[in-house]
């Protein structure tokens, strides 16, 4: 649990994502917002769907639909915190549908990153506790990591759990060269993605 008294500690976002990349090798991966820029600069796989252009907040819902439709595959949704706040009800829908193959990961960087780092509509002095939110809507064992060594150590165990599971990664800002990296065009991604689903 977060403590208001403690100073925020955070992981380098690219290192935190790399742990997911190393583990989720054959997963369906839905990214959005800043992760839809940085993830494809780190790795490109046919089952990656970098949801940009998107409807902000829609990534969790899109990933839920995929998880329901493809129960034999693991599905990871990497959401920005601002995007998730636009669609908190989607967490309720996830828990109700209860897909065991879905992991929802929020990158908690306390800002709207792709628009330049503006503050979220969240109290500056009292960081949002996404794990508590997730627990409140019914995720059984939401986990939160803000230390890279802990995350690297625990990732395999956490990601092997039957879901739906909820993960908060407290991260720093995305390096600008990654943030400005273009997302692969949807016109290229979707045919590859559909073909990969058929294999």
């Amino acid at each position: 649990m977060k403590s208001q008294a403690k100073q925020r500690t955070e992981m380098p976002v690219l290192d935190a994502l790399q742990v997911l990349i190393d583990h989720c090798t054959d997963w369906i991966v839905v990214t959005n917002q800043s992760s839809s820029r940085s993830w494809p600069k780190l790795v490109r796989r046919p089952l990656d769907l970098h949801y940009n252009p998107s409807t902000m907040g829609g990534a969790v819902s899109l990933a839920l639909g995929l998880a329901i439709a493809q129960p034999q595959r693991r599905v990871l949704c990497v959401s920005g915190d601002g995007a998730l706040l636009m669609n908190l009800g989607s967490l309720v829908t996830v828990v109700t549908c209860a897909p065991e193959n879905l992991v929802v990961c929020v990158l908690d960087n306390e800002m709207y990153e792709v628009t330049g780092g503006q503050q979220l509509p969240a109290p500056r002095k009292k960081p949002l506790d996404y794990s508590a939110l997730a627990k409140g809507v019914g995720f059984e064992f939401p986990m939160e990591f803000n230390d890279l060594a802990d995350w690297q150590k625990m990732s395999k165990h956490f990601l092997s759990h039957a879901g739906p599971t909820f993960l908060t990664l407290t991260v720093g800002p995305t390096p600008i060269e990654y943030l400005k990296s273009p997302t692969p065009p949807m016109s290229e991604m979707l045919p590859q993605f559909r073909a990969a689903l058929e294999t």
Partner: protein, 160 residues
């Protein structure tokens, strides 16, 4: 217009696999029939903006979802609709209940903006105004599927 069993049977015949919805007073009573239909799963979302990307994920994953909501939800979820239909080019189909459409002297702004919004979003729409129009739903779904384009059926409703 439709009874629940009648609508559920139509969805079954059209091989829809999921109904993603926020119900209204006209559509809500179909819930039991939809849930009782083999091969059809009802997914309740918290707000209409969830429905479109969720249906998009189902469609990409190989399923055949139907999005169901009222006009107010259509207005609320405009950006999500825009994204999945025009950015992702997914041929999703929706049934939209048009609140107060059958109340000619209604002052309901939800009624007033229904037709302009359908035009504004350039939706490929068919209107179900009377029971005689019911076959248009089936025909429009089939036509949209053949052309691989998105479509909507606008269901005329009375007062809530």
């Amino acid at each position: 217009m439709f009874t629940g069993p009648e609508f559920a049977a139509t969805l079954s015949e059209l091989r829809f696999t999921h109904v993603v919805w926020v119900p209204d007073t006209t559509i809500g009573p179909w819930e039991e029939a939809i849930e009782a239909t083999d091969g059809l799963q009802l997914i309740r979302v918290c707000r209409e903006g969830e429905a479109w990307p969720l249906a998009a994920g189902l469609h990409l994953g190989g399923k055949q979802p139907l999005v169901v909501m009222q006009t107010t939800g259509l207005y609320e979820s405009g950006d999500a609709l825009r994204n999945v239909i025009y950015d992702l080019h997914l041929p999703l189909f929706a049934l939209i209940g048009v609140r107060n459409w059958l109340v000619a002297d209604s002052k309901d702004s939800a009624r007033r903006f229904a037709e302009p919004l359908v035009h504004a979003w350039q939706l490929n729409a068919v209107w179900l105004n009377t029971p005689e129009d019911k076959p248009k739903f089936y025909a429009h779904v089939r036509a949209c599927r053949e052309q691989q384009i998105a479509g909507v059926a606008m269901l005329a409703e009375g007062a809530p």
